[in-house]
Amino acid sequence: MVDAARHPKIEILAYSEVERVDGYIGNFRAQVTKKPRYVRADLCNGCGACAKVCPIELPNSFELGIAPRKAIDVPHGQAVPLIYAVDLDNCIYCYKCVTACGKLDAIDFSQESETVDLDVGSIIVATGFDSFDPTVIPEYGYGRYPNVITTLEMERLANSAGPTVGRLIRPSDGKMPKSVVLVNCVGSRDSRYNEYCSGFCCMYTIKNALFLKQSDHDMDISIFYMDIRTPAKGYEEFYNRAREAGIRFIHGRPSQITEDAETHNLFVEAEDQALGQVIELETEMVCLSTAAIPRADTEHVASTLTLSRSPGGFFMEYHPKLRPVDSPTDGVFLAGAAQGPKDIPACVAQGSAAASRAARVLSADTWEIEPIVAHVWPEQCLSFQGKKCGLCAQACPYSAITVVQGQAAQVAQAKCHGCGGCVAECPNDAITQANFTDAQVVAQLRELLRDRPEDKILAFMCHWCSYGGADNAGTSHFEYPPTSRGIRVMCSARMDQDFILEAFRRGAGMVLVSGCHPQDCHYITGQRVAAKRFDRMPRALERIGINPERFRVEWISAAEGEKYARVITEMDAKLTSFDKAQLRAENDKARPEIEKRLRRWKAIPQMAELLAEEKQEKQEVPA
């Protein structure tokens, strides 16, 4: 941190908040609010004379409430930059600090918050994590029994710069404990709270155990665990050292911790799996290794920067294997525990990777994007025609579209990822997606349904999940009937309901719409846009006289080849059960209504030609 502060090209805006971010990769504009410290940064030398005289004492959040802080203070001793700040909510305006500061005159109560606009090329999100609050687990008694503490509290109690100057004491009586129990997986690997494994708790628990053992060799230390996970380089050796140092490892998750009301000693009950018996251990102190959880403001940051979140709540990376530091928004990168629980070496590695990814953007004059972005035909756009619309902007997961009434919708192409949600949502077909135009999709559809369409299942698949699922079914040799015909688009959001209607107009037997599971969507909210759209589809089909059972929506991940095969098998069985003559009659009946609805397609470039060809074919047939 100190190095960063001294670097001529790094400016640290501490005590500030990013309010909003506009623009796109290489050209972001961030609005940042600098909160008033009521201390002038250019004058304060961090001597701390002001804090010494301040009469107000408050719980110190850095010390987890174990020690006090003053109403004018720095967050902690190693804070960078070392500039004091007044906590105005608790200040009593005695101005003793002003007197103590004396000639330096750094304290300035007239300061106000300041908003700055920054032009930046790339953004790295490294907002860290929060620690799980174990008060919600009643059987562990945290918050009720004084001698049950969390690891972070233990860190402060054992830290030589901490409130006890490194003397680990029991909160109940201030004495050094002679025995300590460390409990792993508190709030993690627990479907009541967080399903995921926090990853680094095993190592820090072992570290703490060894640390305690070194500080007092006679201390009785036990670790209760479900599994010890020490997979990284050198970690297993560290674990072995702890075992050999005489730390007791008990394979069993404690079911409850109770307290002796007089001595405040604790009783830990668990089943030792190696013994296959229930054990009870009396100890003087219990330390809970709490889970790392997403920061409380994760959602706020996600909406400011257009990021998505993984099932555990941490920021989601662009791709778990191939692009682990990129976020779904180009030019925004992720580093550290904000992306998922990880230890210091992993954070440093990801931080370095994010920095080099970010530098790549800064050093480039031009930036290549995928040739699948959206384009607007201005005169078709309803907004351009003076009507109130904006459905495309609502569907866009990247806020790449701006709609001002009276003007045509504008697509920021550098922000567009090419999901095609806007194209499908546009009620007037005024947007198209390069290489996935309506005409191109319809041309595919026409060819796939040329012969005996009523025997076929037309499957729309998204590029990232269900297409992968179908591929997986093939490479895994899962058998399924040969009646399905697939059309790949980038996202389920691209699957226009007009395509479904067109498929039935062309006589398709059944239609399948498939895409990613909601939490896996490659385009943040693309799946949700699609799900909402296709929820309405069965009723719409019913209204035009098509049996809604001929239409199905399934979310299939790239790993679910078996599911793809199963869905197609089920659909094929259903298709076989239908009477073909009745199917044809249903299609014939619905055709005029569908044609009426698709009349506006004539205005779409290339589409008119496609429709004309169809007429030609029809005329040729009788001849």
Binding site: P138, E139, G141, S191, M226, R253, S255, E259, F267, Q273
Partner: protein, 327 residues
């Protein structure tokens, strides 16, 4: 040596397919259930984790013929603590269903009905926490009459049916009315005049509410003037027991049940709490202080609370003085 590959995989599938057995393989054997479960106090071999583990490996005969699958009383103390949120009592129920289908029988005692005296009032049917009792036509003296019938597979022998029976026709061997009455009967320790300044207090605890060993040993050797009687469930204690104890020279009664929601027999403690309130109202009517009959909850986390609770009640009763029935 056990040959794992020789075990019955079809059994695993069967349990998974049985309603309630879906989560059999979700368990990763952390042991939270085993150390939560109180059945092990009376049977150290009881271990729900092992049953699930064995069933998951395919030990068909071992699991189906085990006593353990019948011992789980579905108190669900383990369920809220399970990190995988497995409803273990439901898994046990699923395994039991398979055992019943295959002709295995529940071991141990269950409630017995005396058809001759049963008046088919249906009180036991409503009170049974396990829906083990139904009213059926039963053969009696050459004819048939309506009487309660106990489903052997469901009964947990808590005795709550006995406590609500109007005609004393349903009993659980081992804790009959006579036996409990004898237990509650005023012992020499509690007889009037033996100890002048100490109050005579009768404490009734259920089998499951005392968790810590220190509390259990206190119950086994209570201070002078206090007698502790153990019953299978606080819900087993009919109001008449409390009234007759007070009549027979006790100055105060305290019934201790499990904490709300922790009852080993689902709702016995709630039933008893209502009963004690009725006895209190009755005492009010008779002009006797209502605090002579008290009810208290004790939970799994209340280590060392039992002695304090008893001492508090003794102080209360001491302050009231000896119980006088007046005219």
């Amino acid at each position: 040596m056990i040959k794992l590959e020789k075990l019955d995989q079809a059994f695993v599938e069967e349990v998974l397919a049985e309603p309630g057995g879906e989560h059999l393989l979700t368990c990763w054997s952390c042991g939270t259930c085993a150390s939560t479960c109180l059945v092990r106090r009376y049977d150290p071999a009881f271990n729900p984790r092992l049953i699930l583990h064995k069933a998951g490996l395919g030990f068909r005969t071992d699991v189906l013929s085990s006593v353990e699958i019948w011992q789980c009383s579905a108190c669900d103390a383990c369920y809220p603590r399970c990190p995988k949120q497995i409803h273990i009592s439901e898994v046990m129920k699923a395994i039991r269903a398979i055992a019943i289908r295959e002709g295995y029988e529940r071991p141990g005692v269950v409630a017995q009905v005396d058809v001759a005296s049963c008046i088919a009032c249906g009180m036991c049917v409503a009170a049974c926490p396990y829906e083990a009792i139904t009213l059926e036509m039963s053969a009696h003296n050459g004819t048939s009459k309506m009487a309660a019938q106990v489903n052997r597979d469901l009964c947990m022998a808590c005795g709550i049916c006995n406590s609500v029976c109007l005609s004393s026709s349903i009993v659980v061997e081992g804790h009959t009315d006579e036996r409990i009455n004898d237990d509650l009967g005023v012992s020499p320790r509690l007889q009037r005049g033996t100890a002048k300044d100490t109050a005579k207090v009768l404490v009734i605890t259920c089998n499951w509410c005392l968790h810590a060993m220190s509390d259990v040993s206190y119950a086994m050797q209570p201070p002078e003037g206090v007698k502790v009687v153990n019953v299978p469930c606080s819900g087993r204690v009919a109001a008449v027991f409390l009234a007759s104890a007070l009549q027979r020279g006790v100055d105060g009664v305290l019934v201790v049940g499990c904490k709300e929601g922790e009852c080993h027999y689902k709702q016995g403690n709630a039933l008893e709490r209502g009963r004690v309130a009725v006895v209190q109202d009755l005492l009010d009517l008779l002009g006797i202080e209502r605090s002579r009959a008290q009810f208290a909850w004790l939970g799994a986390l209340d280590r060392g609370q039992f002695p304090k609770l008893v001492e508090q009640v003794v102080r209360d009763v001491q302050a009231l003085g000896p119980l006088s029935w007046g005219q």
